[in-house]
C-alpha cells in the first residue's frame, strides 16, 4: 500500500504562494473579512512561512511552504475525542468535519499549526459561489478543517485505477493541487515506500529534513534545504 508523502525543495521554492491559492480554490476554503483575517482567523491550509533574520545589510529571508505534515504519529488524531481526525491505512491524516464537535483539541495538539477552525459559517458573495469545487463540501460553522493531501483527488485516481484493475501508481497519477500548481517544481509528491519515485529518492537526499523532527511526529512531508 502506498504511503503518500511530499518533498518540498526549499532551494527551488520562490515563495510565490501559488500553492496557497490553489489550495483555497481546490478545497473551497472560505475567505474571511479583512478584520477577521487580521484578528488571526485567516484560513490557509497551505501557507508559506516567512522568516527574516539578521541586520541590515546582512539579512536573510527564508520561505517555507507548510501543508499538513501528515505525520506517521499524528498528535491530532490521538487527542480527538470523537475520532473525527483519522489516519487512513495509507497513512494520510484527514478530518471528518461532519463528526467534529469543535473542541479544538487537535488545534492545540498540532505543533505545526495546520488545523483551522471555522469561527463562523463561511460565506461567499453570490457570484463567487459559482466557482466552488463540487468535489469538496463546504464546511459548516464550528468545525475544524485542514489539509488532507487533497484526498478527493486520490479518490478520483483510485476510481480510474480500479477501472483498469490496478493500484494507483506511486507517482504522477495522484498529486495534491499544490504540487500540481507549483511553478518552480518545488513540491514533489509520491509514494515514499516506492524506491522508484522521485519523492522517495529525494526524501533520502542528504539535504532532506523534516519540520520539528525531534518531536517524534514522523511527518511525511520532507524539506530539502537550500544549497
Amino acid at each position: 500500500m502506498a504511503r503518500w508523502g511530499m518533498v518540498i525543495d526549499l532551494d527551488r521554492c520562490t515563495g510565490c504562494q501559488a500553492c496557497v491559492v490553489t489550495c483555497k480554490a481546490e478545497n473551497n476554503v472560505p475567505v474571511v473579512t479583512p478584520r477577521e483575517a487580521q484578528a488571526g482567523r485567516l484560513m490557509l491550509w497551505m501557507t508559506v512561512i516567512p522568516e527574516v533574520e539578521g541586520e541590515f545589510p546582512r539579512v536573510r529571508a527564508r520561505f517555507t511552504p507548510r501543508p499538513c505534515m501528515q505525520c506517521d504519529h499524528p498528535p491530532c488524531v490521538k487527542v480527538c475525542p470523537v475520532q473525527a481526525m483519522t489516519k487512513s491505512p495509507e497513512g494520510t491524516v484527514s478530518h471528518v468535519f461532519a463528526r467534529c464537535i469543535g473542541c479544538r483539541f487537535c488545534v492545540q495538539a498540532c505543533p505545526y499549526g495546520v488545523t483551522y477552525f471555522n469561527w463562523q459559517a463561511p460565506t461567499w458573495p453570490k457570484d463567487l459561489r459559482e466557482s466552488l469545487n463540487p468535489d469538496f463540501a463546504i464546511r459548516p460553522t464550528g468545525v475544524v478543517e485542514m489539509c488532507d493531501f487533497c484526498h478527493h483527488r486520490l479518490q478520483h485516481a483510485r476510481e480510474e485505477a480500479r477501472a483498469e484493475e490496478r493500484d494507483v501508481r506511486g507517482e504522477g497519477e495522484y498529486v495534491p493541487a499544490c504540487v500540481q500548481a507549483c511553478p518552480a517544481r518545488a513540491l514533489i509528491f509520491g509514494d515514499l515506500d516506492d524506491p522508484n519515485t522521485a519523492a522517495s529518492n529525494l526524501a533520502h537526499s542528504p539535504r532532506a529534513f523534516r519540520m520539528l523532527e525531534d518531536l517524534g511526529t514522523s511527518p511525511k512531508v520532507y524539506y530539502l534545504k537550500e544549497g
Binding site: V79, Q108, Q120
Partner: protein, 454 residues
C-alpha cells in the same frame, strides 16, 4: 409541631433558620444574580447563533476564557469533597461544621466545569458524539470519564451525610417541602443500625473520593501536558494542578463559610478557630503552590529551549507580565503577609487572603492556557488574545449562576451538618479525649494496641 428530637430544637435552631425562613436580602441577591446569569445566557445564545467568531478566540489562541474557567471550576471543586474526606479520615474534629459547605461547592461547581467545556465547543449539538464515537486515547475523553465519576461520587458523598439532616427537616417542614424531604430522607429514623451503615458508607466514600479527586485534576492537567506545546508538555503538571486545585478550593471554601456565617448568623458554629485551621492549611498550600510554580518556571528558564523561553518570557516580561506578577502577588505575597502573622490572621484577614487567592488562581489558569497558545513552537503564528464581551458575559454569568445555586441550596438544605455537629457534642468530645489519651505514654498501648481510627 411534631419532632423526634425535641431536645435539640432550641440549641441548633439557627441552623434550621435559613431553610425555614427567607428574608428580603435573599431575594434582592437572587434578582441581581439572576440578571447577571440571564445576561450570560444571552451572550451564549449570541455565540450559538453566530459561531465562536463572536469571541476573541483566534489563531493560534483557540482556547481562552472558557477553558480557563473549566480548569478553574474543576479546581474549585477540590474545595469540598477532597478536603472534607481528608479531614474526616484524619478525624479532625473541627471539620464538623464545614464539611457540608465544602461538599456543596464541589457538586455545584462541577456542573460549571463541564458546562464550560460545552460552551467552548464549536458544535454543542454534537455533544453526544463523544459517547457515540468516543476515542479512549483522547485526554478529553479521560476528562469526561473522570469528571462524571467525580460528580457521581461527590454527589453521593454530599448526599449520604445529608440524610439524617433531611429527616430532621422532614419533621419540621410542611407542604411540598415535607414531601420532598420525606422522599429523599429515605426513611431515616436514626436507628443505631442505620447510623452504623451510614457511617460505614461515608467512610468508604471518603476513601474512594480522594483518588478520584486527585485523578480528576491530574487528568485536567493532562489535557495540556499530553500535547507537545512548550510549557505544557511537563511532567509536573499533574501534582501542580492538584495543588493549585486544593489551594483555590480552600480559598473558595473559606469565602463560602464566611458568607453563610455572616448571612445566617452562624458565628457560633463557624468560629475563628475553624478559619484559623483552614488558614494554616491555605498558607501551606500557598507555599506548596509557589514551590511548584517556581520549579516549573525555573526548569523552563534554565534549559533555555527557544520555544519554552518564548512562552516563559511572554509571561515574565512580555505581554502577560502584568497578569503574571499579579498572580505572584495574589497567590503568594498577600496570603503570606496576612496569614503568617497571627495578628492579621483574623476572619476578615483570612477572607481577604482567600479572595486574593481565588483571583490569583484564576489568573494562574489563564497564564497556563493562553501564553503557550499565543507562542506556539513555530514562531510565525504568534498572536494575542483579547476576550470580547461574550466571554466576559458568559464568565460573569457562570459565576453568578454558581453563587445563585449555592444560595438556593442553603435554602433547601442546612449548610451546616446538624447531626454531625450534634454527634461531635455527644460523641466526639469523648472520642477525642480517648484518642488523645491513646497517643500518650501509658499502659497497654506500647505493645501495639488498637489504632483508634474508624
Amino acid at each position: 409541631m411534631q419532632t423526634t428530637h425535641p431536645q435539640a430544637f432550641d440549641r441548633d435552631d439557627v441552623l434550621f433558620a435559613p431553610v425555614l425562613r427567607t428574608g428580603r436580602g435573599f431575594y434582592a441577591a437572587v434578582a441581581v444574580l439572576l440578571a447577571v446569569a440571564a445576561w450570560g445566557a444571552y451572550a451564549y445564545t449570541t455565540q450559538l447563533r453566530y459561531g465562536l467568531g463572536v469571541t476573541g478566540l483566534n489563531r493560534p489562541v483557540a482556547w481562552g476564557f472558557y477553558i480557563v474557567n473549566f480548569v478553574f471550576f474543576i479546581g474549585i471543586s477540590h474545595a469540598g469533597t477532597l478536603i472534607s474526606a481528608i479531614l474526616r479520615l484524619c478525624n479532625a474534629e473541627w471539620r464538623r461544621p464545614i464539611t457540608r459547605a465544602a461538599e456543596t461547592i464541589t457538586v455545584l461547581v462541577l456542573f460549571f466545569g463541564l458546562g464550560s467545556i460545552i460552551i467552548d465547543l464549536g458544535r454543542p449539538d454534537r455533544l453526544f458524539y463523544v459517547l457515540q464515537y468516543g476515542r479512549l486515547q483522547s485526554p478529553l475523553l479521560w476528562d469526561v470519564t473522570s469528571i462524571t465519576t467525580y460528580l457521581t461520587a461527590s454527589t453521593l458523598y454530599l448526599y449520604m451525610p445529608l440524610i439524617p439532616d433531611l429527616a430532621l427537616l422532614r419533621d419540621r417542614a410542611r407542604g411540598w417541602r415535607r414531601q420532598l424531604y420525606t422522599a429523599i430522607s429515605l426513611g431515616w429514623r436514626g436507628t443505631p443500625e442505620q447510623h452504623r451503615r451510614l457511617e460505614r458508607g461515608i467512610a468508604v466514600m471518603a476513601v474512594l473520593v480522594i483518588p478520584i479527586a486527585v485523578s480528576v485534576h491530574t487528568v485536567v492537567s493532562w489535557v495540556f501536558s499530553m500535547t507537545l506545546q512548550p510549557m505544557w508538555k511537563s511532567t509536573i503538571f499533574g501534582p501542580y494542578f492538584v495543588t493549585g486545585a486544593i489551594f483555590s478550593g480552600m480559598a473558595a471554601l473559606i469565602i463560602a463559610m464566611a458568607a453563610v456565617r455572616r448571612a445566617y448568623h452562624l458565628e457560633n458554629y463557624l468560629k475563628p478557630v475553624h478559619f484559623n485551621s483552614l488558614a494554616l492549611l491555605l498558607l501551606t498550600m500557598s507555599l506548596l503552590w509557589f514551590y511548584f510554580t517556581f520549579a516549573e518556571h525555573l526548569t523552563a528558564y534554565y534549559g533555555g529551549e527557544l520555544a519554552e523561553g518564548a512562552v516563559l518570557f511572554a509571561k515574565v516580561t512580555g505581554p502577560y507580565a502584568p497578569e503574571f506578577w499579579a498572580m505572584v502577588v495574589l497567590n503568594l505575597v498577600i496570603p503570606l503577609a496576612i496569614m503568617a502573622n497571627r495578628r492579621t490572621r483574623t476572619v476578615a484577614g483570612i477572607v481577604t487572603a482567600s479572595a486574593s487567592v481565588l483571583v490569583g488562581m484564576w489568573l494562574e489558569r489563564y497564564l497556563i492556557v493562553v501564553p503557550t497558545l499565543a507562542n506556539p513552537r513555530l514562531p510565525y503564528a504568534r498572536g494575542l488574545y483579547f476576550p470580547t464581551w461574550v466571554e466576559w458575559s458568559i464568565t460573569a454569568g457562570a459565576f453568578a449562576l454558581f453563587i445563585l445555586l449555592y444560595m438556593v441550596f442553603t435554602k433547601l438544605f442546612p449548610i451546616i451538618s446538624i447531626w454531625e455537629v450534634r454527634e461531635g457534642r455527644e460523641l466526639g468530645i469523648q472520642e477525642a479525649y480517648e484518642r488523645i489519651e491513646s497517643y500518650l505514654p501509658g499502659p497497654g498501648v506500647g505493645a501495639g494496641g488498637p489504632i483508634a481510627l474508624r
